[in-house]
Amino acid sequence: MSADLIITNLFIFSLAAFVGFEVIRRIPKLLHTPLMALTNALSAIALVASIVILGQTETTYAKVLGFIAVVCSTINVVGGFIITDRMLRMFKPREKRPSPAEERAAGTAAPATTDGAEAA
């Protein structure tokens, strides 16, 4: 693999990590458990790699490894998404008036000065 390609991928890695930190830092506690379940499902994307191996290889041991890998990853995707959904369904606010949690999140999203209004 060319060094050039590696550097490109490092570029992508660092940008993605940057996005991750910036976004996740702002997820309210309320949503931390759903978040864990979600990232769980998302990180099971290693599934694509295992699919390719299982789908292409002729060699037996690779098949075995690939097979197990696909099974494991599928468990995570399916389970992870279902659980996230279950949790989020619980959070559906029952009355119209915005919940503190929503306000909280809104507060975070809102332009800095608004927070300032409260902070000051």
Binding site: L42, G55, F91
Partner: protein, 468 residues
Amino acid sequence: MDRMDWINLAYLVGGLGFAMSLKWMTQPATARRGLLAGEIGFGIAIVATLFWPDMTSEGYILIAVAALIGSAIGVPLGVWVPMTAMPQRIALSHAFGGLAAALVGVAHFYLESDHLSAFETGVLGIEMVLGFLVFTGSLMAAGKLQEWLPQRPIVYPGQNAVNFAVLGAALVLVIVLIADPSLHALVPIIAVLGLAFGVFLIVPIGGADMPTVIALLNSYAGLSAAALGLVLDSKLLIVAGALDGASGLILSIIMCRAMNRSFRNVLFGAFGAVDQVGGGEAGEQGTYRSAPVDEAAELMKMARSVVIVPGYGMAVAQAQHKVRELADALESEGVEVRFAIHPVAGRMPGHMNVLLAEANVPYEQLLDMDEINGDFPQTDVVLVLGANDVVNPAARHDTGSPIYGMPILEVDKAQTVFVVKRSMRAGFAGIENELFFNENTSMVFGDAKAVVTELATEVSGRRDAVGL
């Protein structure tokens, strides 16, 4: 654009879907959209992958079978696991994830070993070690949380030395492998060392530190996925891995902060040490007052404002629905009822929020520590429900205490405090709680669910008796 280009384009879209998914998770209002974005991104990526060049038809069959088996296990795991068991569940799936990543790494190594660059071999090696240690580590964590394994940290002299030795050995072998990738025999050994390290890493850590550790393992899993992506030149894996890694790291940092712990502290079993000191059993410290349930019921009914402080005990007892009933009963008596949620109450971030939301407690009633702490002096009755460390005043003054400096719910400032737990036993920090010995505190012993049920009936039952 040939077929691979289209696939990569699909991966690009998938990756962005993941990013948007997390972005939308920053607000409950948009969280569901976030989930959807994640699912769509995932779906696109998978479908695209199925068009990968020179897949064998046998391969497709195997994939289908594996996917079916996976779903057959995954769906039940998703649908039936109770919310209280979330930490275990999540640890378990990290185990699967780690294993999958590690196995793909191994397979790729064997298939490509004759034309792998030193860099690739190195990254692959590290990827395997990470994957395998996440596998066993997460299994251990799940076991401890499910209490199949001893919750108590198991410490012995020179433990850290041993652990590092194992890890070191694994890395040395990776280096050897870089030098001569033909030494296929090394891979199993590296795998074993990785697996062993995963076990050793968790052994000295107390069951209650598991959530922190799980988050940390989560970020390792992310890293290994990213490493895999680096070797396979899969930008999608890199992005997903990076996002996952970031999330795990941030969550563990948040938890450590909220518990006023340092990583070192969590990872190298400082807690074990503390345990020795603190001693599980309390009681040396003065006397405590034990109150019958009806007294508590009486006082709560007469109160203007009641604050309920749920803790791990409520989760264990699955008392959340009964608590909701109690709250309703009190409100129909004209009592203002609020819930005080400590950031690390329970065993995972947002644990209490999820449970109470499950019991349909409108989350207007759930107040964060910083929102409610000011109000305790004006609160008539506080009901501490299976919470312990998060209301331990020692955190404020006792510099010796392992939880010293951890922000707590200052319930001791309230008029009256009822503490519902089964015994005088300590909480996860393994230290006694002087709150229980205050004169305005009364212990109500029993299982949280049982006690709360009784409270609820008492409160609603005698409505006529006390004319309001």
